[in-house]
Symmetry: C2
Subunit: 448 residues, 2 copies
Amino acid sequence: MTAVDDRPERPLRVALLGCGTVGAEVAKLLTHSADDLEQRIGRRVELAGIAVRRLNRERPGIDPALLTTDALELVQRPDIDLVVEVIGGIEPARTLILTALERGAAVVTANKALLAEDGATLFAAAEAAGTDLYFEAAVAGAIPIIRPLRESLVGDEITSVMGIVNGTTNFILDRMHTEGVGFSETLTLAQELGYAEADPTADVEGFDAAAKAAILASLAFHSRVRAEDVHREGITEVTRADVATAEAMDSVIKLLAICTLTDDPEPRVSIRVHPAMIPSSHPLASVGGAYNAVFVESRSAGRLMFYGPGAGGSPTASAVMGDLVTVARNRVRGAAGPGESSYAQRQVAPIGDVVTRYHVSLSVADVTGVLASVAHAFAEHGVSLQIVRQEGVGPNATGPTGDAGSARLVIVTHDARDADLSATVETLRSLPEVHEVISVMRVEGDRA
Amino acid sequence: MTAVDDRPERPLRVALLGCGTVGAEVAKLLTHSADDLEQRIGRRVELAGIAVRRLNRERPGIDPALLTTDALELVQRPDIDLVVEVIGGIEPARTLILTALERGAAVVTANKALLAEDGATLFAAAEAAGTDLYFEAAVAGAIPIIRPLRESLVGDEITSVMGIVNGTTNFILDRMHTEGVGFSETLTLAQELGYAEADPTADVEGFDAAAKAAILASLAFHSRVRAEDVHREGITEVTRADVATAEAMDSVIKLLAICTLTDDPEPRVSIRVHPAMIPSSHPLASVGGAYNAVFVESRSAGRLMFYGPGAGGSPTASAVMGDLVTVARNRVRGAAGPGESSYAQRQVAPIGDVVTRYHVSLSVADVTGVLASVAHAFAEHGVSLQIVRQEGVGPNATGPTGDAGSARLVIVTHDARDADLSATVETLRSLPEVHEVISVMRVEGDRA
């Protein structure tokens, strides 16, 4: 604690925007932990107002005198030093945050969607006012990942960030593995248990993970990356057959957010969210249920992993409170923390240029020569094969004869460009011997 | 980047104390990454001097003009802004760091032994001078754990920190499990491979882990905890039989650093380093080789884990460089980061008051009634049993007769006070039916 702590100065005043699961928890901690927070910050903090949509909801433990429906008036109050935004969404959150920053208030937000859409505007406003914008809670709930990327690893060169950053989809995929049930059935269960929203689009289509990926890539590569830059595929098309195939390969299917740099002389940012197979031995494979984990590789540090609860009122409130103490300490000391670092200005590579491995499952005619045709399709697009496995299907499937039964071919490629793989799949679809391209899935994690 | 960045100001000058594995790597990064560092800090940093013990050693890539054997003169130079200490040990490191801090220079250190012995003095000097003392590299190498405890979780209440924080002992125990070989044989191998020092005492006797535990506990519990407060047991007495028993229990043996709070009305810090069995399903169980991991539990965040390389020149240099950028940014902004937080002033509980589970392995006479005597010994000290398993040894071992063969009893207790367990073991040793108390080991991780 610094010398300034003992001086009788007025408390720092906090405005809380939003009082849902996270907001109510933040309000509770601000009240119950006030003495500890004062010791840790060197100044008392007090909750000065809470903006809500409706005044007449039941809110146990919250002083009704603090509530207001006029959020804009609250952030404009000259006595407010710190603003916590846990409303989510683009508007009115953006206007409220910008108004607060322009007044010089420090802002703590959990708003991944807004940061991934318009972070640059917010950072510029914070910088112009010499104040703080902190957002640890925006990615991976309680897991400290923003601060490690922004500060701990800032003297290193990060080469890749790969994470399970959406608990809903991880819960669903996990269940599909353990229970052997399909996607829609599992989604319904997840909704019943409260792990998925009534409208699950943001989670299952990968929008939530894409916003988080954009934030992680921006920090890791000192560049501006937006949600719209992220190649995004959700989990709605993951089938029971995919899950079974993954298990046969001693792998599991996870929805991954992957941020890497390309091998070009001027490296570009490759950023994508999609389901992928990873080996069961990979540290991310055992991240179950609604947990999140982020795997970071850098030149000097090597491989790091951060693991913990990815969502929920309490865990998210923990991250918000850590930021709140930090920005309050900064305010007591009279200096803001680190701002945006986007000097590297790396370009984003199109998905076609991404290089990874692929698992392709085909239903083919069980005739002599089919393997040669299929192998030729891969070869003509420059995709080389690592594993080819033929699995019998149907009564004549395993017979070596030229009958018209169908068999299944399972193929794993070596590293290939996404564009080349897509072209290969087009060619495969045109082959008369190929009845169906059953699934195409990327294979991530350790290279074989 | 803030507006101040563009002003032509003189570079920040760095003095490096020590040029071994870590120091040489830091020197390399400071030189090769100078342009990136300047962008990230907002000011150029330059390496202004390196204190070494001997000038005439081969140091590829290091400008000999930077070298000096007079470390004290180097830290007293008025142009030095930032000091990186990677010498290790108590003296001369303490004098050099204090001299630097008193001059107002910021210090980045990897020195766990010094911080755990005399951190309070260093923090007081930093605070008096209004400057920074950062030490991410002191615990768990490249893994960001200091900053998460000191900043990310500072708005939360941490209840426990449990970690594998010594790579040498983890490598040895791991090998004992995978190869089924004994301690001394494995130690020799570890020395040959460079994972253990010629004098392995600091590692295998748990001194290194104890220093790190003290640092972690101080941060987690906002209290002063020193290395001498840590109950410490090394791994030299872990036998092949212990390893086999652990495996039979679907567990592994790890050297753990455990920091918790007691259940008292005024919670005390319980802090200890010892080998323990943890279930194979525990996240720490799969931390292999020279990797480190720290498992943190807090009231709001829940369970978090941080994983990565625990030692080595490059990983440690990554942590040092992250701190160096942070203290340099602080200097550019004219404000120091967080100082010591020890306001909670929690007492340290003696080991006797620690509550955990125990695995006890006994060689007993294979006679009727032995189980009753043994069970009575536990009961009279208030230790209740969870599992009792009798394993036959010797030709008559499995016979139900009253012959004089010996059998083995394996016992796992419920939660018990360490003092009660020790008293139980004393009683067991005095029983005529007990030939030998073969091993006593704590059981950690999830409660059964």
